[in-house]
Subunit: 607 residues, 2 copies
């Protein structure tokens, strides 16, 4: 430890001249949140040119959908990708939402961690107040160009144009210019809306994890939205509405007491404006009735009338422990709006050329005090590739999740499901193999994402468990179908053997007994048909089994298509299951083909 | 679109009474970075009780190692886990680093995004200024208890005790108390150091992804550190030093021009204190010589003497384009300090009971302007489990990465390596199967993590490519070894067949020719040995082949142990490859056993 500091500089040693505490303290300083995310922009989904383009579109469209729904407007969204040069695009997204009031524009588009969705518990697509300003920041970083926002909040107010640049060292927007632009009014047919345009480095490529796939899947999960997409090659692709009904509005809820931690409880007590403990508990949490509040207080050695200001650390710990022991109703679940079994089936039918479809919506559950629910759809067979790993399509609050699949709770749930029980092969620690597409949706007032880019759902036990239960439910139905299909095949073979000999047998029997060969043949055929009736299942009406004995027969969550319906682009698929707005677009991303192998599209041209 | 807003409230409709832009603007507000991370604490590694305990220890130990190395002190670190109740722990970490000056204590421990490592390009464990304050925030959230910091910056200055709580709504520390504590001086034998104590909800459980595994692996990658671990059951586990040499100090570097984006370049131009473009380019970037600077300026239509204040968007774009076209030296790589092949081998030898070991350190490469290098170690056979997926141990800047393996570039690199070429079986999209442990280290001035919890390396092409090259290098050597092992086995069988008949043949030949049976036997044996000499390979010295023809023979990056050396706890392993400080601890985490199945430890007891 006595090595001289000066001689130690040239090579490694036990002690070299290093920095002192004072020297090191001079290096220490604040990091602005925008500097942090600019340097770590991959955390926000801006990893590379292709993904960045997708992320920018995703953030803008998610915001547009949220704004429209909150304002009670059927969303009408226009996405345009204009290619400026080989690697530069202008992304423009316009909605018919309520618009944004002038003084909030620079906050919403020019600051990270600013928004309306973070401080409440309500099911929405955005939740962090980062996405769209991050897209603008990425555009500025890569092209030096400001973001242009046009907003119109009322039919009678002129549209406003604001041009802004984020100052990343301060996490604040520099407004380059702001002007009233009545001539932009034409952009907003409904009299209100927002348009954001960002110029950025990007790469447009169709296939897996593309803007196209994101919009395809968004249309599946949001059949109430009308989306128009103008591609870089100036094609117009329209996603028409599948329904003219807005989904029910998601309700905002208060935090559930069982999900609160001691330190957070103490902080809430320090900050509440209530004066008495009873009022604090009843007003700031959900599911605490006066009697529950009284029970908690008494267990904690206080009363509901105890002044909040007299609650110290010991009393707070008492309240915390009493909450853990108390019987409190599970959180309300009307705050969750599922996509629904019918819409899941309809989405899969629209996009996947399979023969068997099933879906289920689980009852709501709770993780860390947050209500959530899981829905799963499954499609099997038909034209899906047979010898590939199955495809998993993931959604959170109706938003498609296209990246980081293997980090997602849903992926782990698929891995942990015993697919072999349902007749599907699976190697260890791997996805099962077979012609299957699985669609998993999590709806929650707060989705725990594994990163700010919101690509994967964090692996909470409660969430994974619900996902597995839902997968087991659809898996069981698939298993029944596969066993029956196997049996049908077997019985079909038996019948064809019967039939092969029935003619000769009846001729011979006529010769022996004198009974008419025709009569013998008919009655033998009847017996053969009864014995092998399973083989007829496929011939029943439009592919749906209606026989009582059939466990899938009366199940509204199951659709089975005959082969010709699969091939015929669904024209003869059961009426009630095809959404009216089926856009008949080829959906290249959904057939298990690899990223590079994109099938040609036949988009509708417009104008 | 004319639906009356009032009747629409009860059920879904095309237009319901929703929020207006004005109403929505009232909801919008700033989110403090600490509020954000408190709600998203799983992003920081505080997902659950067990992982939180690990993360807190990891952040404190990583900081301690960084501080010691920066101050040029051989690290001496003490980690204590004191169990307060079933689910509550006090985590105390003490180091002999330089200490922290008084006024920075509340910033470093009480604010997220504050630190010395973010704004520079230098290889270090910490980089974000989040970790340790997040651990304190988690402790406060779960227990309501403040963080206690004791720091001593100089032998002659008394130790200072600061008790602080983070105000998450402001991302600032509330200092509860601060006092000079000369009686704490005894904690710091070297006259300086820092101790942080955090009370938190946690769960202590050994095995995979535990505090024990983290410290085990930290000791492997940091043989210059002395770590003492006091477990909750009051056992003392010591990790002695493997070397008394500090690793060379990592150098700080300037950004490389090729890694800069246009927008960032514009921002640098706006903020520089240089007055002329030439000076700006030469002083604020690495690898720009006066001639390169001149070349860039001329291409951009300006000169090195052009005033920075006259550079507009067009000129900046010109400079940016000229940089992309210019030939500029790759960044210096002396800023990277590899663990080194020798230390990798020694770490694996110490911890894994295998028969074959190899390692390689790749030359440095660059991603987004940031130099990095990859090192890989591989152990095969011996007592490693044969029929499980291989084990991957990951490090970034000498820090073990224990979570999110499947999201890590290293994991993808392992998946994409063609292991079958080396005789190892592998199913599609899965890790290979066999008795193998692979250790991957990435050293960089800026490691791109997939989340703030720094558990996985983001998947940059350049990084994955280097990892694959390194894996191929060790894989090839493994392949040679396995083929030779196969050949040896084969030749051994041939020889034993020869030998079985040699005696009889020589007897018979003597009877026929009269030549001495002994002589015939000896010469036949000589021929047989020459023909099957491969079978002797294993008998050469300590398991290492020295024959010229053997492709692994003279390779210092390969160690082959005879079976007895594997079993004998390495007592007779080759001298030069075992690090002097081998602590002889059982390393339960490294044998491929599952999380639950922890082998008993035989730790040294102390005191």
């Amino acid at each position: 430890m006595d090595a001289s500091p000066n001689t130690a500089m040239s090579k490694p040693s036990t002690r070299r001249r290093g920095a002192t505490a004072e020297e090191m303290s001079l290096q220490q300083r604040e990091i602005s949140v925008s500097e942090f995310f600019a340097k770590n922009r991959h955390l926000l989904g801006f990893d590379n040119a292709r993904k960045s383009l997708l992320t920018a579109v995703k953030e803008a469209v998610d915001n547009a959908l949220d704004a429209c729904e909150e304002a009670g407007v059927l969303p009408d969204i226009r996405v345009e990708l204009l290619q400026r040069s080989e690697s530069r695009f202008k992304v423009t997204v316009r909605d018919n939402g309520p618009g944004i009031v002038r003084h909030q524009i620079e906050n919403i588009f020019g600051r990270l961690l600013y928004g309306s969705k973070f401080h409440r518990l309500k099911m929405s697509r955005g939740q962090q107040g980062i996405g769209i300003s991050a897209a603008g920041m990425y555009g500025l970083m890569t092209t030096g160009q400001p973001v242009l926002i046009i907003s119109k909040t009322h039919r009678k107010k002129p549209a406003v144009e604001v041009l802004l640049k984020m100052d990343t060292s301060k996490n604040r927007a520099d407004v380059v210019s702001e002007t009233e632009h009545p001539e932009d009014d034409g952009l907003f047919a409904d009299g209100h809306g927002t348009q954001v345009a960002i110029e950025m480095e990007g790469k447009y490529q169709q296939g897996r994890q593309s803007v196209d796939e994101y919009l395809d899947q968004t249309a599946i999960a949001n059949p109430h939205a009308h989306i128009t997409f103008i591609t870089p090659s100036n094609e117009t692709i329209e996603y028409k509405r599948g329904t003219n009904e807005l989904p029910p509005e998601a309700k905002e809820i208060l935090p559930h007491p069982k999900g609160i931690e001691l330190g957070t409880l103490i902080q809430m007590i320090e900050r509440t404006e209530r004066s008495q403990v009873g009022g604090f508990l009843q007003e700031e949490f959900s599911r605490i009735s006066p009697s529950v509040s009284k029970e908690i207080c008494l267990k904690a050695g206080i009363t509901p009338r105890t002044w909040v200001k007299n609650v110290g650390h010991a009393e707070a710990e008492g309240i915390y422990r009493a909450i853990q022991e108390a019987k409190i109703m599970a959180p309300a679940t009307d705050c969750l709006v599922p996509i629904g079994t019918k819409a899941l089936l309809s989405g899969l039918l629209k996009e996947v050329k399979a023969e068997f479809f099933t879906a289920c919506t689980r009852p709501a559950d709770v993780y860390r005090g947050n209500p959530f629910l899981i829905e799963v759809g499954l499609a099997f067979g038909g034209e899906l590739p047979k010898d590939e790993l199955i495809r998993v399509i993931r959604f959170a609050n109706r938003v498609p999740l296209l990246y980081q699949q293997s980090a997602c709770a849903s992926f782990k749930a698929v891995l942990e499901t015993a697919w072999r029980n349902y007749g599907i092969s699976q190697s260890r620690a791997s996805l099962p193999e077979g012609p299957i597409v699985v669609m998993i949706h999590m709806a929650s007032v707060w989705v725990p994402f594994t990163s700010e880019s919101k690509e994967a759902i964090a692996d909470y036990d409660e969430i994974r468990k619900e996902m597995k239960l839902a997968l087991q439910e659809v898996g069981r139905k698939l298993g029944i179908y596969l066993r029956r299909r196997q049996r049908m095949k077997h019985e079909g073979e038996r019948r064809s053997i019967f039939e092969r000999y029935l003619g000769e047998i009846s001729q011979a029997t006529e010769a022996i007994t004198g009974t008419s060969a025709k009569r013998i043949y008919d009655s033998l055929l009847k017996v053969a048909k009864r014995k092998t009736e399973e083989a007829d299942a496929v011939l029943d009406d439009e592919g749906k089994r209606v026989k009582d004995a059939d466990p899938l027969g009366k199940d509204a969550s199951v659709i089975i298509l005959p082969a010709r319906a699969i091939r015929a682009n669904r024209a003869d698929a059961p009426e009630e299951t095809v959404s009216p707005g089926d856009s008949k677009r080829a959906a290249p991303g959904l057939f298990g083909d690899h990223e590079a192998a994109v099938k040609p599209k036949t988009p509708r041209r417009k104008g």
